[in-house]
Symmetry: C2
Subunit: 242 residues, 2 copies
DNA sequence: CGCACCTTTGAATGAGATCAAAGATGGTGG
DNA sequence: CCACCATCTTTGATCTCATTCAAAGGTGCG
């Protein structure tokens, strides 16, 4: 089995053999985490970044009052710990939502990769920029839209991103988040998340059964909650491969 | 006068002559924008990125209901239009808050720079990651903290970032934002921003006179509103210069 | 079977929005 | 130089969405 990162990048462009080799060399281990385990703790000084091979995780920051804000869900193929490139102290906590398998790699190996393969560096920059845009969308959603739309937008994002990794069948996916966690992601209380979920069900927009969620009218939901898909990125401008 | 970008990057590391030359070649023009002018419009397909030479700008996204969420203020040395690296359609609007001078450059020149100077690519990736962290902080602030803290945190961020570019003297800076704009940045109404500003004044945390703001007890303000400075970034891991 | 944890529901409270209107301020043209 | 108009700030009253507090069902796991 090749590099997890190579698989992800292949979604966006055709890697050269040389690029693929470098990516393979980047990852020689696989580490496993249990549901609930903390992979990186806020203010710690992690030595490694990770690529998600399987499972759900999320990054979050602790709030003054004891709560937390979940920033982003991490699925198979996502890079964990990019902030380590800018800060020695991690600004965020990363924890496993489900059991998860991760591929760790050191910062110096990342530096070597960047030096050897400018196109990969540029692509990862693109992905970071896209993630920033997704974060911006969520900022807008949380800052200025009613609770129902926030919950709906989160479901849209999960659906769109899971589809990329084959986690959606028939517009239906397993949602292993508690309502508490959904609240931490959307800036709502668990109680209110519950009410909004039921509202969405009553309105015929979604359907739920034992942990699975189905988007009954995804197009309408997307429109009503103002969701924007940020999974597809531009690669035309990238420098040539090596 | 050399490249605006070179000046900014020099804050974080010592550029090689070769790097400096490439950066200089990147910028041969300077363009001026009036207060209120739109530099990049959401959904447009801009051909250029910019470096801010002088003035304040901000990026924002339009909300469904006619409002907008201001994402980030842009000061001298900031890069504008990075999303263009990931998307052909701009996900955000960039507008001038004050009269501003910008240095435009094309995406292909950026690609050439990245190919030639991996260290610069890595540094810009670092800066993008730091910006993402700052956005995350704001997300947490807007999602879960009371209005007073949101306004206070914005003032802290402005102060910290302006200090980098020499825009703060004696803990005092010119604030050219209307309360409407502060509201769009913090997810509050202009009316409520006004009340919170007065509260901060009454509490002796800030002082205002004709457009200037002074942070009277910056340390206390930072603690109370949970502000985290993201201006300093890690550069130890970067690959060697060329 | 029993204990944790999660979901659901109800009632009361509150932070911030909305609506409305009165001062300030500053730029513009006469 | 001044008057006027547009924009911005300030203040008050009311309303609403989400929070908080409380407690009753479910569900799965050890």
């Amino acid at each position: 089995m090749g590099s997890c990162l190579a698989e992800r990048l292949s979604d966006h462009l055709r890697l050269s053999q040389s690029e693929r080799d470098s990516l393979d060399r980047l990852e020689e281990q696989e580490r496993h985490f249990r549901r609930g385990a903390v992979v990186i703790r806020e203010h710690d000084r992690p030595r490694e970044l990770f690529i998600v091979r399987s499972g759900w995780l999320h990054s979050s920051v602790a709030l003054g009052n004891g709560g937390r804000q979940i920033m982003r869900l991490k699925f198979a193929g996502d890079i964990i710990g990019l902030p380590l490139l800018a800060f020695t102290e991690s600004p965020e906590t990363v924890a496993a939502v489900t059991d998860a398998a991760l591929c760790p790699f050191g910062r110096e190996r990342f530096a070597a990769l960047v030096a050897e393969h400018p196109r990969i560096a540029a692509l990862i920059l693109s992905l970071a920029v896209a993630e920033r845009a997704a974060l911006a969308d969520r900022l807008a959603s949380i800052g200025r839209t009613p609770a129902r739309a926030r919950v709906g937008a989160l479901l849209c994002e999960i659906s769109a991103r899971l589809r990329q990794t084959g986690g959606v069948e028939d517009d239906r996916f397993l949602l292993p988040l508690t309502q508490e966690e959904i609240g931490d992601a959307t800036g709502l209380t668990a109680v209110h998340v519950n009410r909004m979920m039921r509202t969405l069900v009553e309105e015929g927009l979604i359907e739920r059964q034992n942990g699975y969620v189905r988007l009954l009218d995804e197009q309408r939901l997307i429109t009503e909650v103002n969701y924007v898909d940020r999974t597809a990125i531009e690669t035309g401008w990238l420098p040539p491969p090596r």
